[in-house]
Amino acid sequence: MGASQETILQILHSVPQQYPFRFIDEILELDEEHIVGAYRFRVDEYFYQGHFPGQPITPGVILIETMAQTGVVAFGLYLHMKRMTPPLEKANGLTTLFTVAEGVEFTGIVHPGERVIIRGEKIYFRMGNLKSKVSMERENGETVSFGILSGRGVPAGKL
């Protein structure tokens, strides 16, 4: 069974990344096997000024981060929450570390103002580590990036 709207809002609230480094607006689908999220790149994101002057495109590293915030961070917080006995009412108190990016490829350019859909499928969630097969596509379904990303949750304040 998928997550309730209330749970989805809790997870969104618990994602620790904030402006100007927050790249998740919505969670559209969420269960223990997969997540689908969305983000619209604002035309005034700070990195467009330099990447590139007069010809703004979204940096690949930001696309990876965007895939990770849905496919590893939000998904991982949900899986952590589900594993807690009894389930935590909130996944607050965990921050997340990006640990591995494998086989990441970019197949398209994302322009300012574009909305992207991020899909994550669980490969494993063990010992607090989430490994996820993640992809990003435009609203028309065209894939712009994909890869395998991993991360782990750590108690806030332990960094």
Binding site: R126, M127, N129, K131, G151
Partner: protein, 82 residues
């Protein structure tokens, strides 16, 4: 399966995740997987899963948490294989 065979298979598995495979040439049962072989801690789960596939056993997360050295892993696997 005897202990030496398990050890040799473990070395083959670790070769996939060690940044410097030459470190495995002198590895013993006391070699620490993270500290001595410089395996990324995030890769430890991959090592455990590879062990499960290779040896046909299931390693619970709390057992995996206790694995520090190659010998620790060999011991758990040998016990499970009976």
């Amino acid at each position: 399966m005897d202990e030496q065979t398990i050890f040799n298979k473990m070395i083959d598995i670790l070769r996939l995740y060690t940044k410097d495979p030459s470190l495995l040439d002198k590895a013993t049962k006391d070699t620490h997987i993270l500290n001595d072989l410089k395996v990324n801690s995030a890769r430890l789960v991959d090592v455990i899963i590879k062990c499960e596939d290779t040896f046909g056993v299931t390693v619970e997360d709390d057992e995996a948490d206790k694995i520090g050295t190659i010998g620790d892993a060999v011991s758990i696997i040998k016990t499970k294989l009976g």
